[in-house]
């Protein structure tokens, strides 16, 4: 553990030194460089749950992150290595219109801090309202998808994993964004994107569903769009995305099995949020995933109500998902959570959360669990 901590510290220091040197190197007349970052130290403990084993995990256990597979197990006690992370983002502005941005993330449970690049794109402002971007970005599927790890931007320790969980969460491609006032105090934020993503051995597929067997998942011909209308208090969002889904497994004997063969897939999402001047907070999402041929259908939602009192925010949230397909396998889960956030100052938030989750899967899976989490989250 120490060896890796030192490695990540050295890496971070080198990156910081490199980043801080960069401005002096690139400071041509219009050029400027800026960097920012975010981090969280999250420690959680499974208090109780179902006694069973699933894949590599000894339960009672609970999955709190699907993308890179963050699973807490009761027998391990307090664990701080499942969701903690640090992210650094650098933006090089060539002029008023043109810039390049990259974001590097490092986590203890992603190949021992091996940095991953979730974002790397160039951006061009066509005018005050329209922006063209190309490269790698996170898919803005649901309300929190493209800032899932910016903890200071939401009230919970993490947005409900019942809603936020897919093997693929980024795309390589292009998008065009619109942002502007539409009427009265309402503004419109909209985006249309297209691209693809090829992921060998995504932790989601390989670890959760194929017991360590090498996998390859591809989302291609992705075309998606969202529109968010907000007036400062209310915000409503609608999203639809279509893509072709391929997935293969590499068998031990060297042969390949095609599990999904370019199946046409549509994901739709609705969300309605309220941040009242009366300090009441409401978060809601209603989403659906539908795939042809396999007949896969996921329905999932979250509904949270909270109250903000000075630097404190309390939130009660329920979330649920149910997945069915042509096969007799039904996967599902329902979770209730209570979260408390305290804003230490404008850059730091302290959070505590209690999750009570019931597994509704008709075969052995992660099972029921009660989880207690604490997190220190910052953006800088």
């Amino acid at each position: 553990m120490n060896k890796y901590s030192n490695a990540v510290l050295r890496g971070a220091l080198t990156a910081c030194a490199g980043l801080s040197l960069l401005p002096s190197v690139v400071r041509a007349e219009d050029m400027s460089f800026s960097w920012s970052g975010f981090a969280q130290l999250t420690a959680a403990k499974v208090l109780s749950g179902s006694n069973n084993t699933y894949a590599q995990w000894q339960c009672p256990c609970t999955i709190q992150n699907w993308e890179y597979v963050g699973v807490y197990e009761k027998w391990r006690g307090w664990q701080a290595d499942q969701e903690s992370l640090i992210g650094l983002q650098g933006t090089l502005k060539f002029n008023d219109r043109f810039s390049a941005t990259a974001q590097v993330l490092s986590r203890p449970n992603n190949d021992n801090y091996k940095p991953s690049i979730d974002w790397a794109y160039v951006s061009y402002n066509l005018n005050d309202s329209w922006t063209l971007q190309a490269g790698r970005k996170r898919i803005p599927l649901y309300y929190y998808s493209d800032f899932l790890y910016i903890g200071t931007a939401y009230p919970w320790v993490r947005p409900a994993p019942d809603v936020y969980g897919w093997p693929i969460y980024a795309y390589d491609g292009a998008n065009v964004a619109y942002s502007g006032s539409v009427f009265g105090g309402w503004t419109l934020d909209a985006n249309i994107w297209a691209g693809s993503f090829d992921f060998k051995n995504s932790p989601y597929d390989t670890q959760i569903y194929y017991g360590g067997v090498p996998t390859q998942e591809r989302w291609r011909d992705i075309v998606g769009a969202y529109a968010t209308l907000s007036n400062g208090e209310w915000s409503g969002r609608v999203m639809v995305m279509n893509f072709k889904n391929d997935q293969i497994t590499h068998n031990l004997d060297g042969s390949l099995t095609t599990n999904l063969d370019g199946y046409n897939t549509t994901i739709m999402g609705l969300s309605l949020n309220y941040d009242g001047r009366n300090n009441v907070i409401v978060r809601s999402e209603l989403n659906q995933f539908k795939q042809s041929v396999s007949g896969s259908k996921y329905d999932y939602y979250l509904l949270g109500v909270g109250y903000k009192l000075s630097d404190w925010t309390a939130m009660y949230t329920i979330s649920h998902y149910k997945a069915t397909s042509n096969a007799p396998y039904v996967e599902g889960r329902k979770t209730q959570s209570v979260a408390l956030r305290y804003d230490l100052n404008k850059n730091w938030a302290l959070k505590a959360q209690y999750d009570d989750s019931k597994d509704e899967t008709n075969q052995p899976f992660f099972g029921n669990s009660k989880l207690l989490s604490f997190s220190v989250q910052t953006s800088f």
Partner: protein, 146 residues
Amino acid sequence: MSRFPPSLRGLGVVLLGLCFGATASAGNLVVVAGASSPAPKLNTEQVSAIFMGTSKTFPNGEKAVPVDQAVGSPVYAQFYNQVAGRSESQIKAYWSRMIFTGKGTPPQDAGDAAAVKKLLAANPNLVGYIDASQLDGSVKVLAEIK
């Protein structure tokens, strides 16, 4: 009042004093542009849209570039509380989301009122906010924040 013990009455007076004290120390803010700027009058919603980055222009179509007073200063906190109904942490959270999703960057941190006025005088597209007591001939008022 007699239902409350004398000690609590005393506390009430102290609390009231604190409230009024806080109000008195925070003066009225005004949104300003350089004296020669063609920028028109703004309502609170328009001010909010410009400073939250959702509107890049004044209502007359001219480019609008907001500048902040020092992040963390009392004037900064008062401005966003009154214009957007948001605390400093909430404003920071908002900009974190915008920065890390590639949707925008917060206004330039100009420093204090004197620095804001100096910047505004040099660029007619800039818009800032200062305490009304700091008004002088170098700037014109676009909105009064109440």
